[in-house]
C-alpha cells in the first residue's frame, strides 16, 4: 500500500516537525535567558499570588473544621436535678443521631473549674452550698452546611424536662463561615483578574516576538507557508512561557510555605493544636502548571492571530 505508507510518512514528518518546532521555541527562549526570565518571573508572580491565597484559605478551612468542637451546646440542668437523673439523661441523649459526644460536668467539678478560671474563688468560700448546676456539654455532629441543624438540636434539647438552659453560640460559627465564603470568592475574583494579566503579559511578549521576526514571516509567506505553519513557533513559545511561569510559581509557593512553616507550627503548639500546614499536593501543582500553560497558549494565540494578518509580503 504505497498510498497509506506515504500518508504514514507524512504524518510522521508532521509530528517530527511539531516536536522540532516545540524544542526550537524552547531553545530560542534559552538563548535569551534575561528576557525569558523577566517574562516568566512576572507570570509566576501573577500566578503565585492567588495560589498563595488559595493555600491560606485552604488551611483556615481545615483549621475551622477542627474548631467544630467549639460550637458545643451547654445544657445547664435545674439545680435540684441529682447526679443519677443527670447521668440517665446523658445516656439517653448519647443515642441521638445529631450528637457526637457529651461531656459530663458535675457540680463539684464545675465549682473547681470556676475557682480556677474565674478569679472569684475566694468569694465562693462565703457560700454555704454549691450554687452551680450540673452541666452537660453536647458536641453536635456538625459540618459547614449544618449550622441550622445545630440550632434545631438546641431547640429540641430545650424541651428536655431537666434542662433549664441550652446555650449555643452559633452566631460566631455562622460569621466565620460567611467570612470564609467571602474570602473564597475574592480568591476567585483575584485569580480571574491575574489570569487576564498573564494573558496580556504573554500576548505582549509574543507581539514583540512577531515584530522582531517580521522578515522571517514575510519570507515564509512568500514561499508558501500556511498561517498554521507560521503561527506554530509562536504558539509553542507562549506555551513554554506559561509552563515555565507555572513551574516558577510552584517554586515560589513552596519556598514561601517553607519560610512560614516553623513559626506557624510554633503558634499551633502554643494552642496545643496538632495543626499542620497543607501545601498544594501533586495533583494541584500539575493543575497549576496545566492552567498556566493553557493561559500562555491562549495569550499567544490571540496575539499571533491578530498580528499575522498585518504582515503581508510586498
Amino acid at each position: 500500500m504505497p498510498n497509506s505508507s506515504r500518508r504514514k510518512g507524512q504524518l510522521r514528518s508532521y509530528f517530527s516537525h511539531h516536536l522540532r518546532v516545540c524544542l526550537a521555541s524552547l531553545g530560542r527562549l534559552y538563548a535569551q535567558p534575561a528576557a525569558t526570565l523577566m517574562t516568566t518571573a512576572v507570570i509566576s508572580i501573577a500566578l503565585a499570588l492567588p495560589v498563595g491565597l488559595y493555600i491560606a484559605l485552604d488551611n483556615v478551612a481545615q483549621l475551622s473544621s477542627d474548631w467544630d468542637g467549639s460550637s458545643e451546646i451547654s445544657l445547664f440542668l435545674h439545680t435540684d436535678v441529682n447526679d443519677k437523673d443527670a447521668r440517665r439523661l446523658m445516656q439517653r441523649l448519647q443515642r441521638h443521631k445529631l450528637i457526637k459526644k457529651i461531656d459530663f460536668i458535675d457540680k463539684e467539678q464545675g465549682l473547681k473549674q470556676f475557682k480556677e478560671t474565674s478569679g472569684f474563688g475566694d468569694a465562693l468560700k462565703y457560700l454555704d452550698t454549691n450554687p452551680l448546676p450540673t452541666v452537660l456539654v453536647v458536641h453536635p455532629r456538625i459540618t459547614e452546611q449544618q449550622v441550622d441543624t445545630t440550632s434545631r438540636l438546641v431547640k429540641e434539647l430545650r424541651k428536655e424536662k431537666f434542662v433549664e438552659l441550652a446555650q449555643l453560640d452559633v452566631q460566631w460559627v455562622k460569621r466565620l463561615y460567611t467570612l470564609l465564603e467571602i474570602a473564597n470568592r475574592s480568591v476567585w475574583v483575584i485569580s480571574t483578574m491575574l489570569a487576564f494579566a498573564v494573558l496580556l503579559i504573554v500576548g505582549n511578549t509574543i507581539r514583540l516576538d512577531v515584530q522582531t521576526r517580521r522578515e522571517e514571516i514575510e519570507v515564509s509567506k512568500l514561499i508558501g507557508a500556511s498561517d498554521a505553519f507560521i503561527r506554530r513557533p509562536f504558539l509553542y513559545t507562549g506555551l513554554w512561557y506559561g509552563v515555565i511561569g507555572g513551574l516558577l510559581a510552584t517554586i515560589i509557593t513552596l519556598t514561601s510555605l517553607l519560610l512560614m512553616e516553623s513559626p506557624i507550627l510554633k503558634l499551633a503548639l502554643l494552642y496545643h493544636s496538632d495543626f499542620r500546614l497543607a501545601g498544594l499536593g501533586i495533583t494541584k501543582t500539575l493543575l497549576l502548571i496545566l492552567i498556566s500553560g493553557a493561559l500562555g497558549l491562549i495569550g499567544s494565540w490571540i496575539t499571533v492571530g491578530r498580528h499575522l494578518k498585518n504582515i503581508e509580503p510586498s
Binding site: 508532521y14 522578515e215 522571517e216 515564509s220 514561499i223 500556511s226
Partner: protein, 228 residues
Amino acid sequence: MIHFDNICKRYPGGHDALNRINLRLPKGQMAFLTGHSGAGKSTLLKLIAMIERPTRGQIFLDGVNLNNISNKKIPYIRRNIGIIFQNHHLLYDRPVFDNVAMPLIIQGYRRQDIHKRVRAALNQVGLLSKEKKDPITLSGGEQQRVGIARAIVHKPLLLLADEPTGNLDPELSLEIMKLFARFNQVGTTVLIASHDLDLIKHIGFPSISLHGGQVEHNGLPFTFDGNR
C-alpha cells in the same frame, strides 16, 4: 502556464499600474519582462505570486483562475512558484543550508529528502561548499545564488525573478542568467523582470516590454490558436 486576460491593477490612491494586459506565457517558456521603472513589471509579477490581486480581469496559472483562490489557499498556489528578489530576502539568523531548506520544511518533506534536495540545489548554483556559512559572510552574487537555490529547491513549475541581477556586475549577471536558462532547459517556465537590455539581447530569449502599464511590445511566439 500564465494567462493574463484583460488585467487592470489600480492601487489605492488611483494610480493605474497595469492597464488591460493580455498575455500568454506557454509552459516551458523562458521570457523577459522589460520596461522602465514604474512600467508595471513588479506589479505584474506580484499578481502572479498573489501578493496583489487584480482590480479587473482574470489570471490563469496552470489553468487555475486565481480569482477563485481564497486568501487561505494562497500558500498552496505559491508552492508551485519559485520567487527570486533583487534583495535576496535571505534570513541572516541561520546558515545557508537552513535558508535553502525553508520551502521543503514548509511543505513537510522528510529529513533525508530535505538533505538530498538542498545539497542538489546548492550544487546547481555552485555553492555546495558554503552550506554551513552564514549568508551575511557571502558576497552579493553568492547571496543571490542562495536565493535562487531556495527558489528552485522544491522544483517549482514556474520561476519568477524580479531584477535578479540588479546589484551585480555584468559578468556575474550573465552567470546568473545562464543559470536560469539551465533551469528552463529542464522544463521550468521562467519569467524574469529586468531592465538590463544588453544582457537580455545577449542571452537571446523573447521579451515582453511594458510601458505605462500596457504591453508595448510582445516578443513571445504565437501559440497555435493565434494568441500570445
